[in-house]
């Protein structure tokens, strides 16, 4: 069973619908037991890091996420879900996050005011290294982004794909071992996004 974690951070309809397109009826849940029992975990989210972390604390999910990821369950972070698996986010005056990946999350600081924040729309992802979740997707394919902050992993080895915006090349796809995380929304990124989700569902890290 694939679990989509519901921690009150945004609308999960499109993630659920995308998986249905792939023939998978995922469970939307915040129940620790069900998350512990899941074969795969999708961790989406939109909104702000502070409220998201607060909500995870209240639901008692912080430890659970550490436990399931450390024992090897395939895990996919999406958008805000990706940001809060790093150690710290600069959002909301600075928030300590889950620390499943080492690094910080910082805000775009464009020098050119035509680069608007948030970045909203389709941008190309250059693949830095091969990864099972990117199988069958062409290098340079565009994905749909909506975000003001982006992750900066401590170790370059955690960078799988990168994207240029507002004067920086940021880590658009990150991960290690059984964790993969996208700053973009695969569930809203057309066929390429579906391919990524399908790859994740088949991934045996």
């Amino acid at each position: 069973m694939t679990a989509i974690i519901d921690y009150g951070a945004g609308n999960l309809t499109s993630v659920k619908l995308a998986l249905q397109t792939l023939g998978v009826d995922a469970l939307i849940t915040s129940d620790p037991d069900r998350i512990m029992a899941a074969e795969r975990i999708i961790f989406p989210g939109v909104g702000a890091a502070g409220a998201a972390m607060e909500s995870l604390r209240k639901l008692g999910l912080q430890e659970i996420l550490h436990t399931v990821t450390s024992r090897g369950t395939p895990f996919l972070g999406i958008c805000l879900g990706t940001q809060i698996i790093f150690q710290h986010s600069a959002e909301d005056g600075g928030v300590d996050c889950l620390g499943l990946l080492q690094g910080q999350v910082i805000r775009f600081a464009p020098a050119d005011r035509r680069d608007k924040v948030p970045q909203m729309g389709w941008n190309a992802v250059s693949f830095v290294r091969e990864h099972p979740v990117l199988k069958g997707i062409a290098d340079g394919t565009e994905f749909y982004f909506v975000h003001s902050y982006y992750p900066v992993p401590d170790d370059d080895a955690a960078i799988i794909g990168q994207t240029g915006y507002a004067g920086v090349d940021f880590a658009a796809v990150t991960g290690r071992e059984n964790i993969a995380a996208t700053q973009f929304h695969p569930e809203k990124s057309g066929r390429a996004g579906l391919q990524l989700l399908e790859n994740f569902l088949r991934w045996k890290p």
């Binding site: 309809t13 249905q20 939109v46 005011r113 909203m120 729309g121 389709w122 340079g140 749909y144």
Partner: protein, 258 residues
């Protein structure tokens, strides 16, 4: 590089896609879900649906249609028309839309923008506006906001309204020029540029697209982040791929993989 978005607009009337000039002489163009699916497969970047009579007939938006669209396509889409409350927004977003577009209700009740952005996130809240060229002294930008499908002048300056909406949390602004709407003679570059240069949120140009050159113009000369197309594709005169190829050749970044 962030690409410029091409957004087909589907005006909905009684569950059918319709197109008219200045909201008059509407003609039937087809089924909304079928058309959305076709444009999705042809590579459009996003879609927008306006229920053009929900507001004037004071009836709720057709949520079943929104659900069907959400099942059929895997790209973001916005829904507008007849959204007057937070509950309306919530229903449309839960049905699978990425964004809600509010126009007349935002003018009548600006708090709707603020409350919607706080509850759902600014990225969900699109301000639609229908500016018209005006020599009203209350409108120093030279453009006045109209509401209720161009029928009513408000005395509100278009640029001032755009800035206010941004400060209240709108995530994006659709600038639909009354003067250009339905003419297919090109976008109104001036008001689009004024708003794009004086706000920090994405600006979507709307009204007047007749050929790919018009889109190139509004991206290069007016700094729009996205452009709405309707008649030029609904008639079959241009395909999304043709538009994107021409823009690509003109050096404009567009999404090329789908």
């Amino acid at each position: 590089m962030l690409t410029k978005r091409i957004i087909p607009c589907l005006d909905i009337h009684e569950r059918r896609v319709t197109k008219g000039v200045r909201f008059k002489n509407n003609i039937d163009l087809g089924d909304p879900v079928e058309m959305a699916t076709r444009y999705y497969e042809e590579g459009c970047d996003e879609l927008v649906f306006y229920d053009i009579t929900a507001s004037s007939e004071r009836r709720p938006i057709d949520l079943e249609m929104v659900r069907e669209v959400a099942r059929a396509i895997r790209i973001p889409f916005a829904v507008g028309g007849g959204i007057t409350s937070l509950d309306d927004m919530s229903a449309v977003l839960l049905a699978g839309a990425e964004k809600v577009s509010i126009n007349t209700p935002a003018v009548l009740n600006p708090e709707l923008i603020e409350e919607g952005a706080r509850r759902f996130g600014a990225q969900c809240i699109v301000l639609g506006m229908d500016p018209v060229r005006s020599d009203n002294p209350a409108c120093p930008s030279g453009y006045e906001i109209t509401i209720r499908g161009f029928r009513e002048y408000t005395g509100i300056d278009a640029l001032e309204w755009a800035r206010r909406a941004e400060s209240m949390g709108a995530g994006e602004i659709v600038v639909n020029s009354v003067d250009a709407d339905g003419t297919r003679a090109g976008f109104e570059l001036n008001i689009t540029r004024l708003i794009a240069e004086n706000t920090g949120i994405p600006v979507v140009a709307s009204g007047g697209a007749g050929n790919p050159r018009h889109l190139a113009e509004v991206f290069i000369k007016a700094g729009a982040d996205a452009a709405i197309v309707a008649g030029m594709i609904h008639t079959g005169e241009y395909s999304i791929a043709q538009i994107k190829n021409e823009l690509h050749q003109a050096g404009i970044p567009v999404r090329r993989h789908w």
